[in-house]
């Protein structure tokens, strides 16, 4: 049995191949002579990061150069990816400090909970994304490495916003 095909009645202006071709050529020529390029030439030019950008961590320090961390254990507790390893230590005066503080940046999901929960504002997410390394072990950042980072830290919320803070 023959299949009945519904034949669309379209005006010639829409159905004509010639007109469509000419229209297409005009369009491509327009882009050829007047390009609207948005490409960023990466190593030379860089994208402006949002103040809320959550990148690799940074540990802030006190004036004497030691980490602000008091080894309270909140960040490993809140961390959903279980990527923070913390071994607390205590000196004679009872001040707590981290003996070991390691973040596995491969396991980290960059949620920012650690920064949010930290009572001392010690651990921060960073506004940074160029993290390439040559081996896996280098992605476990220890305390020394975290304190040595210099990139700006994430705001997590917009400080100008009335509901922020």
């Amino acid at each position: 049995m023959a299949i009945t095909v519904k034949v669309m009645e379209r005006p010639i202006g829409e159905a004509s191949y010639v007109r469509a071709t000419l229209k297409g050529l005009a369009l491509t020529l327009k882009h050829l002579v007047d390009p609207h390029r948005v490409t960023i030439q990466y190593p030379e030019e860089k994208w402006d990061l949002s103040p809320r950008w959550r990148g690799t961590h940074r540990m802030l320090t006190t004036e004497d150069g030691t980490a602000k961390c008091v080894a309270c254990g909140l960040c490993p507790t809140v961390c959903p990816a279980n990527c923070i390893k913390l071994v607390p230590g205590e000196d004679e005066e009872g001040n707590r400090f981290p003996l070991v503080f390691e973040i596995d940046e491969f396991r980290c999901i960059f949620c920012g909970f650690c920064q949010e929960v930290c009572p001392e504002e010690a651990i921060h997410m960073g506004r940074h994304y160029e993290n390439a390394e040559f081996n896996r072990a280098r992605f476990v950042y220890d305390l020394e490495r975290l304190t040595a980072q210099t990139h700006p830290v994430s705001e997590l919320w917009d400080p100008a916003h009335p509901r922020g803070e």
């Binding site: 009945t4 669309m8 191949y17 491509t28 390029r37 030439q41």
Partner: protein, 421 residues
Amino acid sequence: MPPLDASQLPPSTLFFLLATVVKMLAIFTLYMVVVAYTTLAERKVSAWIQDRHGPNRVGPWGLLQVAADGLKNFMKEETMPGDVYKPLFILAPALAFCSAMIAWAVIPFGAPLPTPWGRIDLVVADLPIGFLYVLAITSLGVYGIVLAGWSSNNKYALLGGLRSSAQMISYEIAMGMSTVCVLLVAGNVSLNAIVAQQVATGWNVLILSIAAFIFLVAAFAETNRVPFDLPEAESELIAGYHAEYSGMKFSMFFIAEYANVLTASALFVSLFFGGWDIPFTRWDNAGPATVTKSLLTVAMFGFKTYSCVLFYIWIRWTLPRFRYDQLMSLGWKFMLPLALVYIVIVASAILGLDAAGVARTGWAFKGAMGSINLVLLILLFFVIDRGRLISPASSRIDRERVARIRRATDTRSTLGSGEAH
């Protein structure tokens, strides 16, 4: 009478041979460089059309990208799949490339160059059968592709090769027919004579626009360029006939594609756009040969040819690929009849004008041919516009046939239901 100048006379045999070798080397070198840079031009223009930058890392504005690509292809491993037929598998890329290359031998690319030892024609071989040679050679190009497809022992490659042979044969006829009109007007098949005729009567594109149009479309099909790139349709056939190729052998196919484009452009320019003739001037065609004249005409030829190449690229990044049935029906049901009808019209017009005693170089001839051409162009546009040439297959069925089919199915379905009761 001025004294005979040695630089205006044909050279001695020895110098002729020497000059020919030099011309061959020069053409080959220049051709390879231009083909290589055409690949870069394609990438750049496509990038600009798509609002991108294109290659811009290797060298200033990416100009050394070509060298980097060449080096990469040389260093790459050549894979040899298990069951290929080795002799043809290795020969095919060379075949594909050579046919495009040797067609250049007869294309005149400039006004004669005077030297102290005699006048050199700026064409590698001024064959008296020039254009027939071109037709013969360009039709060999399909062998490279078909043999590549067959010897690869790969279904997709074979399909690509088959498609390409069917397509090239279909469009070669229309292409040959379209050039018959040019040969009729020129009265000669030597490309030098065709260029000389265009100098005398004005460019063929002005009096034979439809032939130029058919030639251009057929040339797109012959060179497997979008919208006729079915042999290498990525979405259906992976890469078509060169699916099994890698390294420098693949690169040869890539070069062959652009070499074909360049050759087709040069032919198009020679046949319809006056070859090396500089428009709106007479001084380049008359009087003794000078070096300035030669250089300027070569530059003009290069400019025209490259404009045509850029047109190819522009079309490629505008039009989508045809479906296979559209390709075939365009070739056989439209291009071929159009070319045949056009030959009859042009031949009758020339016969009539000759019989009426109109000189071919006069304004009357140009005017008559030009006006016939204009009328035909308008008619053609009207027909193509209404005819829904490339449109869904359903819309090409005429309405009466649709009604007939509908009636037939209606009766059958009522009969069927009657029997069921």
